[in-house]
């Protein structure tokens, strides 16, 4: 892989705080190495802004190895940028070429209000988990880990759903700002395990109710979420959630 350097035009969303209106600002960055990560390119931009006496661009990031789910940039019309199964922090500059213009926006959804620049508030996801995304077991109550054998397929599918990093790219990608992929990943993760069985029905009903309350849209199965998910969480989980919801609501006592 040949390394090269490039000059870029960046169109970045700037917004002082949640109460003010934002707009795009254009910046030039020079001599960007193709080996940099996208966020390192933003580090360069920020150092440049600081040296010019301007405020750096605020953006969420932490682990920078694609697992914490904090980074959240909408790059050239795609959450996490052009690569498949990838987070913003793992996107590298060899995805771009000299002279490119890159438009960077925050996640857009009413349930994810902008806090500042490219930083959004995703606590709505935490509240969805609070509504039932857990197994009610107090510390110290557990039986032996091998007491309940779990069918390997179920364990594997549960793990595949549990890989969700809660970044919110699914919401950002969805034309309806729906959180169904996130929600269904958690419901599937727990519904596929025998430990999740006792709360299976209340969990799905309460979590859907909370999702609606937070102001996420309804799912129309377009598949945009699956296509942009850095962990390739499958759309199948949404269908499984629908089945869980239907069976839970039809079999409710009251």
């Amino acid at each position: 892989m040949e390394h090269y350097h490039m000059n870029l035009n960046l169109k970045v969303w700037r917004q002082k705080n949640s109460n003010t209106k934002g707009d795009f600002k254009t910046y030039q960055v020079k001599n960007i190495s193709s080996e940099m990560s996208f966020l390192e390119m933003f580090d360069v931009l920020n150092e440049q802004l600081i040296s010019e006496g301007e405020e750096p661009v605020a953006f969420d990031h932490d682990c920078r190895e694609g697992i914490c789910g904090m980074c959240s940039m909408y790059i050239n019309g795609k959450p996490h940028g052009p690569w498949q199964a990838n987070t913003t922090c793992q996107l590298h500059m060899r995805a771009f070429k000299d002279g490119d213009t890159i438009v960077v926006e925050p996640w857009r959804a009413n349930a994810f209000p902008v806090i500042k620049d490219l930083t959004v508030d995703r606590t709505s996801f935490d509240r969805i988990i609070q509504a039932g995304g857990y197994i009610s077991v107090n510390t110290g109550n557990a039986v032996d880990g091998n007491a309940l054998p779990i069918n390997k397929d179920n364990a594997d599918n549960s793990f595949a759903a549990a890989m969700c990093i809660g970044c919110g790219a699914c919401v950002a990608a969805c034309k309806n700002s729906s959180a169904m992929l996130f929600l269904s990943a958690k419901v599937s993760h727990l519904a596929l395990l025998p430990q999740g069985e006792p709360e299976r029905k209340t969990r799905v009903l309460n979590m859907v109710a909370q999702m609606d309350k937070e102001g996420f849209g309804a799912c129309t199965n377009t598949g945009a979420c699956e296509a942009t998910c850095p962990k390739e969480i499958s759309l199948t989980n949404i269908a499984r959630l629908n089945a869980e919801y239907l069976s839970a609501s039809l079999s409710a006592e009251k």
Binding site: R64, M70, H92, R94, K152
Partner: protein, 657 residues
């Protein structure tokens, strides 16, 4: 001399004895007691959830936007537990023994034994929470082996064990939030510990969105804020990982133990240039099949594939014919550094060595061809078959490497270099995990207690969860039982006022410097000093120099740092400045500690103290103690010692040759 308050009696009975006799708090009183938990990684989230379940009023703080982001999430390999599911001779004692030996006999026996005892409960607890551990076809839990042990005791969830365990703890925590037992403060950073009459009574936290300072009272304060590897600027830690909470506690009286014990992991993706912001770990398992080499010629600029076999130096195989590429982490790391420093490094930065899979591909290809009965398989066919086998074993790691470097590791050798990824040192704690400040506790990587001078793989997750789920619920009760007579203190108390003013003054001072250099540039310079002089190998001269350089850097920082923006708004530069200011002070203490310890042990390698063949040379007579440093004033620390007594294990020289 520090008193670790280790229960008397035989080692294997200590924890049971303690639990049987520690004081309890009745449920009605628990409701009146408030506990503050700083940090929501494995230790913090599990502690906050467990204490909430018990009925305490808990306030949990994290600087990220959600507790699920904590860097425990990045742990790949697995979690150890003495379950002996494999019937291969594992036991609590063996896990205890391996951990003490791995720590190069610088850990406390009683703590480590307790850790081994509760390790099995952790797995049960996590399974009950719905952590999807890997399973066999029969539906039972799967294990794999890990470095430094002879048994299979590591439980895992693909390469994302840390993520799955953290999500389990996070879910338990969110359940307590929903039940009203825990109040969660995300995007909050703890900036001061409040002490009243010598006891920890609360914290001052900054709301990172509004920039406002908040006062929070607690009958006890738990610091679960992780390690300080970011003092090196480049590490496998998350960007936000910081020492601030622990450092504030230290400056309020909590002793800081063994700060110089840092672990350097040999197989990381190397630095690609000055822009580099963090490093990514590649699982150690790659060394099982890969061969490590550098060119025999200095500054060789040829492509790896153009360098003929006879011009390659397989330096680990050459220097350590018995262990070859499988020498322990610290040895592999130091050997790579030695080659690169001598000018044999590869890649554009010249700070890397090759990890080559060409031989493994051929070897596996031949086996596979044999299995399939292809007697006259061509070289191409064999390579293709071999690649398939390697892909099945290491595919996800190879993919990650390609994503970051843009190079195809099936075709060209990978480049690797050692990187900082864990800190064994931390706040000194006694058997109850209490620091030297009453009511102030430290859990997980933030404390020093269990790993001695070197941590074994798959032990960090175990320790974080042991502390949070199974230790602190007992030991905290023992302290809080006496606190039921003390009502919550109003945050208008002068101690809170004073603490908030100190924080506010410092922030205003930082903002008023209005210098020329960015926070990042100072952090990079600190990292370079630390890496060069207090990194993989240290010596007296370098450490003395480093101390001077860091003191000068501190002065420069406080007179020339530039922080744009305002105080009362989201200001990521100000957040960073607060952290870097503390890292600079910590860096000095690390060098002082490294200078004090005139021996080599585990992750601490003093060049003056090595065996003739380059192995770490311990000095048990002189240094079998925990060096806990008490803050006395700027650039001044007192050394407090905790002598380590080995009642059960007899320390020997680690010999891996």
């Amino acid at each position: 001399m520090l008193n670790a308050k280790i229960p008397t009696g035989p080692l294997e009975n200590k924890w049971a004895e303690y639990k049987g006799h520690c004081k309890l708090v009745n449920p009605a009183n628990k409701r009146k007691l408030e506990v503050i938990v700083v940090g929501t990684g494995l230790a913090g989230a599990s502690a906050a959830a467990s204490l909430g379940e018990l009925g305490y009023k808990v306030k949990a703080f994290c600087f990220q936007d959600s507790p699920r982001r904590a860097h425990s999430i990045a742990a790949q390999g697995g979690i150890n537990a003495a379950k002996n599911y494999q019937n291969d001779g594992d036991s609590v004692f063996r896990l205890f023994y391996d951990t003490i030996k791995g720590g190069d006999y610088r850990a406390r026996e009683a703590n480590v034994h307790r850790l081994a005892e509760v390790s099995a409960n952790i797995i049960d607890q996590c399974v009950a929470q719905g952590v999807p551990f890997a399973r066999e076809y029969g539906g039972l839990l799967s294990n794999r082996s890990f470095g430094g042990t002879q048994v299979q005791r590591t439980f895992y969830a693909a390469g994302q064990t840390g993520q799955q365990l953290l999500i389990g703890a996070y879910q338990a925590l969110e359940r307590q939030v929903a039940l009203g037992n825990v109040t969660m403060y995300s995007r909050h950073e703890m900036l001061e510990v409040v002490t009243i009459d010598g006891k920890a009574r609360g914290i001052i936290a900054r709301d990172l969105v509004s920039g406002k300072l908040e006062r929070h009272f607690g009958h006890a304060v738990l610091l679960c804020s992780g390690g300080y590897g970011n003092v090196f600027y480049l590490s496998t830690n998350a960007m936000g990982s910081n020492v601030t909470a622990a450092w504030k506690a230290h400056k309020k009286g909590a002793a800081f133990a063994n700060p110089c014990f840092t672990q350097i992991h040999p197989t990381c993706i190397p630095v690609s240039g000055d822009h580099q912001s963090k490093l990514t770990l590649m699982s150690e398992s790659l060394r099982n099949d890969g061969r490590i080499w550098v060119p025999k010629k200095q500054n060789d600029t040829r492509k790896a594939t153009d360098i003929p076999e006879e011009e390659r130096d397989y330096y680990l195989e050459r220097r350590y014919p018995a262990f070859g590429n499988l020498v322990p982490r610290d040895v592999a790391s130091r050997a790579a550094k030695e080659r690169c420093d001598a000018g044999y490094g590869v890649g554009s930065s010249k700070q890397a060595v090759y990890l080559d899979y060409a031989d493994a591909i051929l070897r596996y290809g031949k086996i596979e061809a044999g299995k399939q009965g292809k007697v006259n398989a061509s070289q191409e066919e064999i390579i293709a078959l071999g690649k398939e086998v390697v892909k099945a074993k290491y595919g996800n790691l190879f993919d990650m490497y390609e994503k970051i470097t843009g190079e195809n590791p099936y075709e060209v050798p990978m480049r690797i270099y050692p990187a900082v990824h864990y800190t064994m040192g931390g706040l000194w704690v006694d058997y109850e995990l209490q620091t030297t400040v009453p009511g102030l506790y430290a859990l997980g990587e933030a404390n020093f207690s269990d790993h001695g001078a070197n941590r074994l793989g798959a032990s960090a997750l175990m320790q974080g969860l042991a502390d949070g789920y199974f230790v602190i619920p007992y030991t905290l009760g023992n302290y809080l039982a006496d606190e039921i007579y003390n009502k919550s203190i109003e945050t208008s108390h002068p101690a809170f006022e004073e603490a908030e003013k100190a924080v506010s003054d410092r922030i205003h001072q930082l903002m008023s410097i209005k210098g020329k250099q960015s926070v990042e540039s100072f952090h990079k310079r600190l990292g370079k000093i630390m890496w060069d002089k207090c990194g993989m190998a240290r010596n007296k001269e370098g450490l003395e120099q480093a101390i001077k350089e860091i003191q000068a850097l501190k002065k420069e920082f406080w007179s020339d740092v530039r922080i744009p923006g305002e105080i009362n708004e989201m200001n990521t530069e100000l957040d960073k400045a607060n952290r870097v200011a503390d890292f600079i002070e910590l860096g000095e203490l690390m060098c002082i500690d490294a200078l004090n310890r005139n021996e080599s042990c585990g992750g601490h390698f003093r060049e003056e103290f090595q065996t003739p063949d380059g192995e770490a040379l311990r000095d048990d007579a002189g240094y079998m103690y925990v060096a806990a440093w008490e803050f006395k004033g700027e650039h001044q620390w007192d050394l407090l010692k905790e002598t380590l007594n080995y009642d059960v294990i007899k320390p020997t020289q680690r010999n891996y040759k």
